[in-house]
Symmetry: C3
C-alpha cells in the first residue's frame, strides 16, 4: 500500500509489508514519544480531530501524537455541536471540514460512516472508530505491542499463541486483531468467552481459512495455560440495548494474580485495550496484577502514541524528514526520584 | 477604518476601501491557506475562541485560521461550563478572558452580547455571531466569494445581479450580505421567499435607499433566470419557537440541476452559507448539483479561512510581516492523485 | 521543596522560601505574560489539561500559561466523555493519560481524587481543584496579588491586615489562603461572615496557633475599617445540596463604593477569587466599584497566568532557560489608543 495521501479506513488495507513499514517508522519515532528529543516536522499542519462520539483516550492519543510531530489540533468532541443535527449530509460535513485540516481523524457511532465521510473528504482520513465496525489504529497498536513484548523473549508473530478473553461477540478491538493476525503463520488462538459472547461465525471461519489454529472454550484456566499473550476485554455495555443482558456477563471471566500464577507460563503477557472495568462486579483484570511485570496494558496504551505518530508520518509522507527538524528536550522529563 | 487594535463587531464598520484592503490581504494569504507555504508570524499569540453557543464549523474555521498564522487557540465550546451560570456579568467575563488571550472571537446566543463583551475586553474582539444579529465574517467571506467567482467571468461587484432564496426573514447571513452589497453600484437583487419569510421591511428600505434595484417574488424559476449569483439559505428551525412553523416552509424552495438547466444563464454561480439541510423534506439545494462546476458552496466555506486569516492579520497589525517568517511545507498536501 | 519533577497537590507543600522562589520566577515571567516578548522554551511539550469538572477560567488560564511558554495543550472538559464512566479506576486513567502528556493539571469534583490520580501518574500533576479540598494555584495567585498590591504602598506580607468576607465555611479559596498566610508574622485577620458560614473551627485554631491575630464579626463596616486587603467571596451555591440554604446567605454581605468610602482606609485593596455573583440578589461586590483603582480583582485574575507559568517552569525545571529562546512580539498588543 502507498500510505502517502491515502485514507486509513480499515485493517484490511494492510498486508505484512505495510505493517513492517509502519512498525519500522514507529520504532524510529520512539525517542520522540519518550521525549529524548523533539521534532517540528509538521509545524504548520493541522489535524482535524473529529469525534462525533465521545472517546477521551483515543482522542487525546491522536491529538498528542500530532502535537509530538509539531502540528496543531482542532477538535470536535460531541455530536450535539455539529451541523449534522441541522440536516447536513456527511458528505457536506466532510467537504467543509477537510478545508480546515491537513488530515482528519474521525470517530462516529455509525458503522460505515467514516468511509462515507472519507469519500467526500479532500484530505486523508484516519478511521478513529465507526460503531462496532473498524478501529484500525487500535488493532495496529495491539499488534505492535504483541511484537515488542514477544521480541523480549526472542519470539516473533509467526508462531504466536494467544488467548482472547471476554466479550468476543461485540468487541471491535478483538475482531480487528483477529483479522490482522491472519497475516501471520502458525498462529494458535484460544477463544475464551461465555457461549452467548462467542466470536461471530464469519470471523471464526476467516481465521480457520487463513490457517489459524482456533480453540474455543468457556474455561479461563484451561484457555490461558499455554499461550504467549492473554488479551482480555471488557463487556461493552454501551453496545447492549438491554443493560441487564450486559450485566449477566460482567464478572464471568476475571483474571487475577493467583489464577495467573496457577495456570500461566512464566512470561505470559497480559494485554487489554482499556478501559478495564474495575468495579467489583466486573473486574476482568484484577488490580492485584499491578505488580506483575508481564502486565503490558499501559505499555500497550503508550504504544498507541508511536503507532499513531507513524500513521500520520506515512500518510503525510514525512517519515524520512523527521530527523531534519530534530531538537533536544529543554525540560525535566517524568517524575523526580 | 483602522483595523489594528480594533474590534470587528458589525458589517456596518466596513466601507469599500476597508473591504478592498481586507480582500487584498486575503489574496496574499491564499498560498498559506492552500498549503503552498506556511508562516509562523503569530507564534506565541493566543486566540480565545469563545463559543457560548455551539457552532462547530465557525469555531473550527476561526481556530484553523489562527493556527495557519502560527498562533495557539484556547477554547470555550459551551455555555454550561461557563461562569455566566454562576451569575457573572458579561463585563467581568470579558475582563478575565481578555487577560488570557491576544484576540478573542466570541459567539453568543444573545443579540448585542458581543458588543457588551467587547466594551469590557482589553483585547480586540471579533463577533463570531450574536443571535440573529451580526456575523460579519460570514458576510465578508460571502462577498469575497462573489467577487472571486465573478472575476472568472470578467465581472465585478458593481453591476452584480444576485438572487437571495429562502428564509429571508430570519437569515442573519442574508441580512448582513444585503448591508454590504449596498456599498456597490448598479446592483440588482431578486428576493425569492414565501410571503411569510420576506426580508424585513427595514432592510428592504435600506436596500432601495442605497440604490439597489430590488425585485420580490415567490417564484424560484423566475427569480433565478437572469442573475450572476444564486444565494440559497436554509430555514433556520432553531430560530422558530414553534417547530411546526419552521416545517411549513421547509422544502418550499428547492433548487436542483434540472431547474438550474431550464432557467439559469450558463455561468450562474450557486452559493449557500451552509449547512444546507439535505433531508428529503427540506433539500433546498439538491445533491444532484454536486457535479455542477458553478456550485461554489465549498469554495465559499474555504474562503472563510482566508478571510478570517486576513481579519486576524489586520486587527493584529501583522499583514506586512507574514512573508518574513514564511517556510516551505514539509508534508504531502491533499489526497493522492 | 524541590519543585522539579514533583506534584503540586496542596498548599501545605510550600514554605516561605518555596513561595519566594515561585514569586521570583513569576516576576521574571511577567514580560512574557504581558507580551513584551515571547518564549518557546516548552516547544514540543504537552500539557494534559484534565478537567473532570467544568471550570472555564481555571482551565483556560492553565492552558494559556502553557501556551505562553511554547507548549501544546490537550484537554478533557467534561466527565461525561471519560472512561471513568465505564468503570475505570482513577489509577488506570492516570497511567494512561500520563503517557500522553509531560505534565498534567487535574480538576475533579471529589475530594482527594487528584492525590490518588497523582500517585499513579508517571508525570507531575498539578492540582487544579478537587472538590472543596485544595486548589493551590488559586491560593498562590492570591498571595502573589496581595504582595504586589502591598508593595506599591511599601508594605509587606509580614504585618498584613486582611478582612475575609462572605462564605468562609465552604470557600476553598479562603481556606487555602488562610493556610498560606500562616507562614507570615504579625498578620491580623478579620473574618466577616454570617454565623452559619463561619470559618471551620479546625482552620480557625490553626490560624491562632500560628500566631495570627483573628477577629470574628458579622459586621461588614466594622470588619473592613482597618485593613490593607478586603478579600470578598461568593456564596458557592454549587456546594449546597439545598439551594434555599444558599439563597438565604446571598446578598447578606455586599460591598459597594459608598460603604468603602465611609469605612475604609484610602488604599485598601479589594480582591475576589471570581466569578463574583452580579445578580441583584447577591452582588457581593457592586459594579460601582469598577472605577475604584484599588479594585484588584482583574489584576488578581491576570496574576493567575504568571503564577501558573511559574509553577510549570519550576516543576519542569526550565526556570533558567526561558531567556534562551526569547523572541520579540510581532503583533500589535491590546486595543488601539
Amino acid at each position: 500500500m502507498d500510505f502517502s495521501g491515502n485514507h486509513i479506513l480499515s485493517i484490511d488495507q494492510f498486508d505484512r509489508s505495510d505493517i513492517d513499514k509502519l512498525f519500522s517508522v514507529a520504532d524510529k519515532l520512539e525517542p520522540y514519544a519518550s521525549k529524548q528529543k523533539i521534532t517540528r516536522v509538521l509545524e504548520g499542519a493541522i489535524l482535524g480531530n473529529m469525534f462525533f462520539e465521545p472517546s477521551t483516550r483515543t482522542r487525546i492519543s491522536f491529538g498528542a501524537s500530532f502535537n509530538l510531530l509539531g502540528g496543531n489540533v482542532r477538535e470536535i468532541t460531541e455530536v450535539g455541536s455539529s451541523s449534522l443535527a441541522k440536516g447536513e449530509s456527511l458528505a457536506d460535513t466532510a467537504q467543509v471540514l477537510s478545508g480546515y485540516s491537513d488530515i482528519i481523524v474521525m470517530r462516529h457511532p455509525e458503522e460505515g460512516s467514516v468511509k462515507k465521510f472519507a469519500e467526500a473528504s479532500r484530505v486523508p482520513v484516519i478511521n478513529g472508530g465507526d460503531g462496532s465496525n473498524e478501529h484500525p489504529s487500535q488493532a495496529l497498536l495491539d499488534l505492535y505491542t504483541i511484537e515488542k513484548e514477544l521480541s523480549q523473549n526472542n519470539k516473533s508473530l509467526d508462531g504466536l499463541r494467544i488467548a482472547l478473553v471476554g466479550d468476543l461477540k461485540y468487541g471491535r478491538a478483538v475482531h480487528s486483531l483477529c483479522k490482522v493476525l491472519s497475516l501471520y503463520s502458525k498462529v494458535t488462538m484460544n477463544l475464551i468467552s461465555p457461549e452467548e459472547l462467542k466470536l461471530p461465525i464469519k470471523i471464526l471461519n476467516q481465521l480457520k481459512a487463513s490457517g489459524i489454529n482456533v480453540i474455543q472454550t468457556e474455561n479461563l484456566e484451561e484457555g490461558i495455560s499455554e499461550v504467549d499473550i492473554i488479551y482480555v476485554t471488557r463487556v461493552q455495555e454501551e453496545r447492549y440495548t438491554n443493560k441487564e443482558d450486559a450485566n449477566r456477563y460482567r464478572g464471568l471471566l476475571s483474571l487475577n494474580q493467583s489464577i495467573y500464577t496457577a495456570n500461566c507460563e512464566p512470561n505470559t503477557v497480559i494485554m487489554h485495550p482499556l478501559p478495564r472495568d474495575s468495579r467489583s462486579d466486573a473486574n476482568e483484570l484484577d488490580t492485584d496484577l499491578y505488580e506483575n511485570p508481564n502486565l503490558a496494558i499501559f505499555r500497550q496504551a503508550d504504544n498507541g502514541v508511536v503507532i499513531r505518530m507513524a500513521l500520520f508520518s506515512l500518510v503525510l509522507g514525512i517519515e524520512n524528514k523527521i530527523e531534519e527538524s530534530s531538537k533536544s528536550v529543554n525540560w525535566k522529563v517524568g517524575l523526580n526520584n
